[in-house]
Assembly symmetry: C2
Homo-oligomer: 303 residues x 2
Amino acid sequence: MAESIAFLDDEFVPISEAKISILEPTFTKSDVVYDTLSSWQGHIFRLNEHLERFQNSYRAMQLNPPYPLEEIRRIVAECIERSGFEDTCVTLMATRGPFIDLADRDIRKCKNGLIAVCVPYYWVLGEDKQTNGVNMVITENQRVPAGAIDARVKNFNWMDLTRGLLEAYEKGGDSALLCTPDGFLSEGPGFNIWLAKDGKLFTPRGNLLEGMTRRSVFELAKEMGAMPIEKPLTPDDLRSADEAFTSTTAGGITPVTQVDGKTLGNGAPGILTTRLTDEYWRRREAGWHGTRVEDVLQERDVA
Amino acid sequence: MAESIAFLDDEFVPISEAKISILEPTFTKSDVVYDTLSSWQGHIFRLNEHLERFQNSYRAMQLNPPYPLEEIRRIVAECIERSGFEDTCVTLMATRGPFIDLADRDIRKCKNGLIAVCVPYYWVLGEDKQTNGVNMVITENQRVPAGAIDARVKNFNWMDLTRGLLEAYEKGGDSALLCTPDGFLSEGPGFNIWLAKDGKLFTPRGNLLEGMTRRSVFELAKEMGAMPIEKPLTPDDLRSADEAFTSTTAGGITPVTQVDGKTLGNGAPGILTTRLTDEYWRRREAGWHGTRVEDVLQERDVA
């Protein structure tokens, strides 16, 4: 039977055994960076690009995982293979690790670690939203500014996003879109945002994660002739858009059909959104930007 | 033999067994609030005030620990008693808990938890700094603003503090003091900051944790006739101070003797700093604001 698998402390373990100490600064200071990849029908999406971003993240926090990137690449593939799932999400974490001595809490002396975990592919906004669309609430709660926490260094410091989410739920929404302190759209808990207006496609720039699915939308949109533009966007830009959608590894492209409880466009997933979604999944099934799990494992066997 | 003890999943366990799943949003979204108390020679310091602050924190994040506050009070005392340590730090955590189903990642459906952990009393800035003093670096990296993350809701989203700390280490410092995005002093990783100038004592106000030791310094300073003032302070206020110190649960009052590598005052712990430190520890040993561990446990036995 397929089951979620983790790699930590140098071995593969069932998910029920994948735990970390409550005293590690990995947890008590959220001193960890991560990246989430997906595999679809045995193809890992944009594997090397995810690994490169993961490396940028751990270097930014002066973390040194105990494996070279080439070995981490193999660990990803082996987690997927061992899990037995056809479609997966794999999260890599570079951890600060435990203190050597509780009386000496110098994070420079911690033994940095690597964790990988493979779970069945999931839809961060809920699979039903793929057809119904999301009611997106633009929150009062702001996204952290880059001068404090750099969102491009993918991290678990999600308290601003979680506060935004709780605010969105209170307002009857499905998810939250946070703004920068100076009032421009940034991102939500786990996704980037896009909007279409008069046939043009826009996405924010600034202190936000430069998502791999965001990158994919740029490519697809260009090929479709809908020139995507990255620029500062306001809440009113979204409210007056013809259509909107989110992009994320765990869910691909998801339509936004309401903003702050008000219908966007005609209330159905937009034409461009639907074209992009269809094309995205058509290509994912064809192995677009994919590396076959078994190919990565064969590299290992050869080595 | 004395050993660190934790309470989680409804039982007391040795620290080696105190672990949480790597899939819990408690960890992957740092969706947890906490509070750290200390006991000294069997007296828990400001117990009810810590519990009240802890309650404010978990309510702010819509967390509902599975025990009433009165029971949490007993868990704190029992952790200390079971550990066997004379002087301790106890950390309480209100956790979001595990997802019920990995395919439905709605944090409202998580089973919230409570963790408590008792370790030997420690000095967050190093015990040697009590006499030598700290070289404090005022960092470029900013503290998160309250509009994104409210520092008064005590949380593990420490990436800004950790980035500040790494910056301070690179500059040869012992610890880091972060500023607000508009350039005023805020706090460091685990402590509040104080400075004295012309016989007056100052501490910042704004998006910072309102520490219990900070509160204690207010009381002591007033009694000593050094009227403490809470107001916005600039980096230059600190650099030109006569003396400075930090306040924190894990370490009490610690002198700052250098700022950005430059000697502060005469380079030794200041007169007011030393008086406050001596008085703080004299009172702690006398059970000031203290609740005896055994008294809390007797409440339990009576109930």
